[in-house]
Symmetry: C2
Subunit: 320 residues, 2 copies
């Protein structure tokens, strides 16, 4: 076993409520990202029995993922838990039913039959889910969107994505590519995006976007977190952050008019900006929705664990 980070946690953490060491069934869950593979042994109800997080390697990601799952199973064995399934949340365009990742740019994957590979390796029921949609499922089950059939989860990190939930189902679209909220064009002929388009939302509102625009406008090379810390005393920070909030407000106004969600859940690093984000954002979305009420706008209840928790939920569903 070669875990980079291992944390054995008391089983009463989370909403599970089962007794520690009770041997209640668990699943192995991994949130596979471009930077880190966040793994955990999870009991039904969301209780985390143990965590195991490793950096995503530059080379053989699939091999590293399989090794992580085997090591998670070993951890579950040490904890004397029966493993009933495994779930992985991945980025990219995928066929969730068949468990095939058609394209994931930050993993450099094309047409990887992930479900078949993991099922062969683990001999367990396996579920493959989209990372943001899995996080949405977790927010709905345990987090800030609990009990809501109509909500959107918008993680704002380096880039921006969205899980769009309507009538209790997550929108996947005809080719599994729904939810590209970060790339909706909000400024016609605007600044260029890495995606090849112009004026995308995440050009203006994302960790990478705010930092780049601040630097290109003559500011220092600061992180978005540090730029937010300068609000009120740095006019350039005020301006760049103001643009970001305005563009996000425009995007959330569009989402509200199209999908009519009850709740908008903001996640990702940028959502930790607190009042500097939520106060002006709420004002701008209210102003943009002249003739209807705005949905509640709240911070994620699960933060960076949402994808992994969602993978665990999918695994329990596959095990049934």
């Amino acid at each position: 076993m070669s875990g980079t980070t291992v944390a054995a946690l008391p089983a009463e953490q989370g909403d599970g409520g089962e007794a520690p060491g009770s041997g209640a069934p668990v699943v192995l869950a991994v949130d596979l990202g471009g930077t880190a593979m966040k793994g955990a042994v999870v009991a039904e109800g969301g209780a985390v029995v143990a965590e195991l997080t490793r950096p995503t390697p530059g080379g053989d990601i699939l091999g590293a993922l399989v090794t992580l799952f085997h090591d998670l199973r070993e951890v579950a064995g040490v904890a004397e838990r029966e493993v009933v399934g495994a779930g992985v949340a991945t980025p990219g365009m995928l066929d969730e039913q068949r468990g095939i990742v058609h394209y994931a740019s930050n993993l450099d994957w094309r047409d990887v039959p992930l479900l078949d590979i993991l099922q062969g390796e683990l001999d367990l029921p396996v579920a493959v889910g989209h990372d943001v949609r899995a996080a949405g499922l977790a927010e709905r089950t345990f987090g800030a969107a609990q009990g809501s059939d109509d909500f959107v989860l918008v993680p704002i990190g380096t880039g921006v994505a969205a899980a769009l939930v309507t009538a209790g189902g997550t929108i996947t679209g005809a080719t599994g590519a729904a939810g590209e909220f970060g790339h909706i064009p909000v400024v016609a002929g605007g600044e260029p995006c890495t995606c090849g388009q112009r004026g995308c939302l995440e050009v203006y509102m994302s960790g990478a976007g705010v930092a780049r625009r601040y630097r290109e406008a003559g500011g220092s090379a600061l992180s978005t977190r540090r730029i937010v810390a300068r609000l009120g005393s740095d006019p350039l920070a005020d301006r760049i952050w103001g643009d970001a909030v305005d563009v996000l407000a425009q995007g959330l106004t569009i989402l509200t008019l199209l999908l009519d969600p009850k709740v908008v859940v903001l996640g990702g690093g940028v959502s930790h900006a607190g009042d500097a984000l939520f106060a002006p954002l709420e004002r701008a979305v209210t102003a943009g929705l002249a003739w209807r009420e705005r949905p509640a706008i709240v911070a994620s209840g699960l933060g960076g664990d949402a994808g992994r928790t969602g993978a665990g939920l999918l695994a329990f569903t596959a095990a049934r």
Copy 2:
């Protein structure tokens, strides 16, 4: 009976295929609009047995609607058909399950319990549906989106709306207000809309919007159809129409990135512009979707009858 327009049609019209005068069950269907009430006696399979269209009165709309339904029933009786249900497609914000129209500005209705009223008057199973969503159902069953589980229908008339269909279900939202595509803000701080917001899509691309912008820019008071007819010989018409197509392309790019539809169906009067609309629109949407394929963009197969046909489909569902 006081029908303004009565047309008894051969029963073999439509996709039904049942023998004329066979007595196969029918439903009464009305598309209730701000200008006209389009009624029909419809057989399963969509065959129209008879049509009855009247102007929507300025005063007692509900009374006129009830009268229209009674007259449609009389027409069905003349045709010796058993009536098994009734369906009405209405604009506005509504609770389709309970059949309550919460708000419809062009009918001046607030909290009208339409289903209960019609059921009491007609003693039939009744369905109440949203006009644009009912039209989407009709396009999916008989029209341009046949067999598609993921598509959008965008009727472009005086204003603009949308039926958003994902995984076979039409998005209604938390308060029944989903699909307000005409009011998504596409130009930050743009021209004012009648809704109280600025820069809405339909300010630039709609029958009313194109005509207003052409006139305000110094052109004559022409209809959008006549403005389109001047393309190529009238630089002002070229510019205003170019703006309209660009804004619609931006809106359809947003819809595609969020919902990933297989097909975009354009309806309403403006969709009859043909190549003047579709050719530049397809180019602009393709350009706006740099890294993914664009959905097919097609004209409605049912035109102005889609709402009424959808009301008929809902009525047959209620009758089961």
